[in-house]
Amino acid sequence: SQQGEEDPQALSIQEGENATMNCSYKTSINNLQWYRQNSGRGLVHLILIRSNEREKHSGRLRVTLDTSKKSSSLLITASRAADTASYFCATDAPGGGNKLTFGTGTQLKVEL
C-alpha cells in the first residue's frame, strides 16, 4: 500500500487561480517533500518541510504540515500554464535511511 495518497488525483483550473493539493501518509515521518514532474521528465524538488514545522513558503508555493492528521497540503497561488505538471509528496520515516516513499500524485492542468 502507498505511504502517501494525494487528492485530488487530477485538478484542472484557470490561469491565475490557486491550486491546492493534499497528501496523506500513514506512518511517522522525519520530513515531507513536494516534487513536480512534467510528463515523462525528471522530478524537480519544490520544498521540504520538517516534522516539527507547520508551514513553509517558497515563492508562490505554500506548504502546510499537520502531523496529528498525518497530512500536508501544497498551495500554488496565481497559477500559470507552466505549472501544469504532476505533483508528488514524498515522506521519509525515522530510521528509514532517508529513502523516500511517494504518494500517488496529483495531475494539475492550468488552462489559459
Binding site: N31, R41, G42, G96, G97, N98
Partner: protein, 114 residues
C-alpha cells in the same frame, strides 16, 4: 549548479538482455538512491547507498544489482530483462543528515524492453 546526471537518457533492450544505468550524483553528496517509475505510477524505491555501502533496499528484483563506486557514481545493473521492467529509472542524491535533507533527482533513464 551541478545536478544529478544519468545516462543513458533512453535505452531500448530486448527481453532477456542486460542493461546498465549510470548515475553521477551532485558533487559532495554521499548518498545515492534508485527509483523505478512505471507508466502512470509513482516512483518506487529500489535501493540506496551511503558512502559506497548499501544502506537500504526496497522492492528491487533479484535480477537487479547496484553499486556505488569510489568516485560516488552508481550503476544499476539489470539482467534477464522482462517487458515489465519498462519504466523510468531515476537516480537521486543527497547529503546525508540525521534529520534528512532534500533529495535531488536526475532526469531519469527511460528503459523500454521489447
Amino acid at each position: 549548479a551541478a545536478g544529478v546526471i544519468q545516462s543513458p537518457r533512453h535505452l531500448i533492450k530486448e527481453k532477456r538482455e542486460t542493461a546498465t544505468l549510470k548515475c553521477y550524483p551532485i558533487p559532495r553528496h554521499d548518498t545515492v538512491y534508485w527509483y523505478q517509475q512505471g507508466p502512470g505510477q509513482d516512483p518506487q524505491f529500489l535501493i540506496s547507498f551511503y558512502e559506497k555501502m548499501q544502506s537500504d533496499k526496497g522492492s528491487i528484483p533479484d535480477r537487479f544489482s547496484a553499486q556505488q563506486f569510489s568516485d560516488y557514481h552508481s550503476e544499476l545493473n539489470m539482467s534477464s530483462l522482462e517487458l515489465g521492467d519498462s519504466a523510468l529509472y531515476f537516480c537521486a542524491s543527497s547529503l546525508y543528515a540525521r534529520q534528512a535533507t532534500e533529495a535531488f533527482f536526475g532526469q531519469g533513464t527511460r528503459l523500454t524492453v521489447v
